[in-house]
Amino acid sequence: MRASLFITCYNDTLYPETGQAVVRLLERLGVELDFRSRQTCCGQMHANTGFRAEAYSQAKRFVRLYQDAEAVVIPSSSCVAMIRDQYPGLFQELGNEALRQEYAALLPRVFELSEFLIDRLGVEQVGAYFPHRVVYHASCHGVRALHLGDRPYRLLANVRGLELATLPNVDRCCGFGGTFSVKNAEVSSAMLAVKLQDVVSTGAEYCTALDNSCLMHLGGAMHRQYAGMKTIHLAQILASTEEAQAEAAQ
């Protein structure tokens, strides 16, 4: 099985360890990964802020870059939601017929990480070991746009040593919302405070998610408040093995 990794602009810049974990995890599962160095951004930031023409040029770039890929794996549910939910409108409005067809042909091969593992590879047990108490934050795009359902929980349930905490109000937004977090910083912070209360109340050591954007938001507040909890992308938990833990401990 071959797959192409679309790391996303902010993971490339801010969270390379998530990309490295995806590589370790998928190669361990026998996937032959490639990485196209011309990739940049899916266009979500521009689309969600109202810069439609700019978003369109990035959408076009994405579709062109991956048209021959066997599968595209993306460790960010909001970027996958952008590709699935917003590209059609952008191409309808600004694109031509050829581009619409290229997109339609590519779309079934675009996967969020947990979808790729469970739907495409058919694995729930990835051989991970992570002996910690963990709480899963179900990001809005994962829940309501991609309908990931219990996929992340099934993956977590199969991680040896992991104790999963239950998050109250699990489907409530953390308040990030991209540029919303700076355009409406005060409301965003108020939402974050409420979310953080729920997350911290679980007494977990780690808060995990399939979106580093939410985790950047939650983690930024945890650090500011000395909350005593860390954030970690789900890929990093799934990539973690007994040997890796032992190595890290040395």
Partner: protein, 481 residues
């Protein structure tokens, strides 16, 4: 409480308007508590409906069909209502509607009028207009009485006094009704309101109502409510004037079967609302003998003409979107600077204002999608928010003053970077070097200037790692060779 401006032409932008609310713990507690109670009731009643999604699909289809054939259905409604003894009037904007209603009241020689269940009258600012023209207006919905007597503004479209708690209600009633010994026992408060209202119901023979639905097939009007004060208001007076937006029409009587199941559950978390009033024209010897319907456009046909935005008009004003909204839960309704708050207000208000005002509202959302999931008629609110955001950006980017706006500048530069990977990579390097000065020894950034400061006012940011992912990948590939 501070003065609250709900006229979108004068209200401050959302990010400013939220500040006094966010600093008011009592208000936030009232809002969050009320919302959580409604949400818990709704969740239970939605869960017991095994055909909930099918009902939503049916309701969405009914509303879309009605809107796509709105002209024909409105004419059918007018013909049926007129045949049954009602009079139908058409108002193209707020001003025309206000003058029409005042003329009708003058024909009745009415110096006082009672009112029930009409958000639309708040949209056209009917009360201050009538008061200025010498007509005393008395609200009869319990929440509206609290607001009117307390000189407060509505903050929700179904529970307009949701931001006021019991002890505040006691204070208002005691002061305005002259009841010094009133306690905050709900029973006592209700009795005080009942006593106040009965006098109005028996003395004032002219009423103004809103409408939840207009039925084209029969010419009937439907109003749903919980208290029975609406029923009083709709049946006791001699003359009834109903104000309704033109989008309120349903093709068939049978369509109520779908709508009423969804509306009560979505709005108040009830299987059925306690009072559903339906009437067709006038009936000799029973109820009002003169009945007028004022059909209001006020920007609606302009919304209807835009295919991507048309779905906004499917709204049945249940407020499920604001109850589900994590933004509204923090801010309540006043920050939206409109009588229509929450997610539906964020898309409806700027459109009713023809995009000349309320441009901050489409940005008052984290796009979490909870509104769309809750909406009983499946309005894709995030989709409309994005459409309106792009319209606002197209307006603003032409303004000279926006050229150096950090957010606009940043997004324009980002677009350039994303077009060439090498440029993006160069910017990542520049960012890493540039942020080094702000990065503390622990590897975290605690303070940033300009737009970045909006982030760091409540959140830290981890400093940029020494190596990006693509650099790591390239180094690994080299090693492998």
């Amino acid at each position: 409480m501070n003065h609250v401006e709900l006229d979108p032409r004068f209200a401050p932008p959302f990010p400013q308007a939220v500040l006094p609310v966010l600093r008011n713990p009592q208000l936030r507690k009232n809002v969050a508590h009320a919302i959580d109670v409604i949400q818990a009731k709704r969740a239970k009643l939605v869960a017991e409906k095994t055909d909930w999604q099918a009902l939503r699909t049916a309701a969405a289809a009914i509303r879309s069909h009605a809107l796509e054939n709105l002209g024909a259905y409105l004419e059918e409604f007018e013909a049926r209502c007129t045949a049954a003894g009602g009079q139908v009037h058409w108002a193209s904007d707020a001003d025309e509607a206000r003058r029409l209603i005042l003329d009708l009241l003058r024909q009745e020689k009415a110096s006082e009028v009672i009112k029930i269940k009409t958000m639309t009258s708040a949209e056209i600012q009917l009360n201050p207009f009538l008061q200025a023209a010498g007509v005393d207006v008395f609200e009869t919905d319990l929440a509206e009485i609290i607001l009117q007597l307390g000189e407060l503004e509505p903050s929700h479209i179904v529970v307009p006094a949701l931001h006021v708690n019991r002890s505040q209600v006691r204070e208002i009633f005691a002061r305005r009704m002259g009841l010094k010994d009133l306690s905050d026992d709900p029973k006592e408060l209700t009795n005080a309101a009942r006593h106040y209202l009965r006098q109005k119901f028996l003395a004032i023979p002219t009423a103004i109502s809103g409408a939840n639905f207009l039925i084209a097939e029969t010419g009937a009007v439907a109003v749903v409510e919980s208290e029975g004060n609406g029923r009083m208001c709709l049946t006791l007076p001699r003359t009834l004037i109903t104000l309704a937006g033109i989008e309120k029409v349903l093709p068939r009587f049978q369509d109520l079967e779908v709508m009423l199941q969804l509306l009560a559950r979505s709005a108040t978390g009830e299987r059925m609302n306690p009072y559903t009033s339906l009437w067709t024209g006038v009936t000799a010897g029973d109820g009002p003998q003169r009945f007028h319907v004022v059909l209001l456009d006020n920007g609606r046909s302009s919304i209807l003409s835009k295919p991507k935005q048309r779905q906004t008009l499917k709204c049945i004003r249940c407020a499920a979107c604001m109850n589900a909204c994590p933004v509204y839960r923090q801010t309540g309704g006043h920050a939206y600077g409109s009588v229509y708050p929450g997610p539906i207000g964020a898309i409806l208000t700027p459109q009713l204002m023809q995009m000349h005002y309320a441009q901050s509202l489409p940005f008052a959302s984290s796009l979490c999608g909870a509104c769309y999931e809750a909406c009983p008629v499946k309005i894709n609110i995030p989709e409309v928010l994005l459409e309106l955001r792009s319209q606002v950006v197209n307006q603003e980017r032409k303004q000279a003053g926006r050229f150096f706006d950090p957010l606009y500048l940043g997004l324009r530069v980002a677009n350039l970077l994303f077009a060439w990977a090498w440029l993006f990579h160069a910017a990542q390097w520049a960012g890493r070097v540039g942020l080094r000065v702000f990065t503390r020894k622990d590897g975290w950034i605690h303070w940033l200037p300009s737009v970045g400061g909006k982030w760091t006012q409540t959140r830290d940011l981890r400093g940029l790692p020494a190596q990006t992912f693509h650099q790591w990948w390239a180094a690994r590939a080299k090693e492998k060779q």
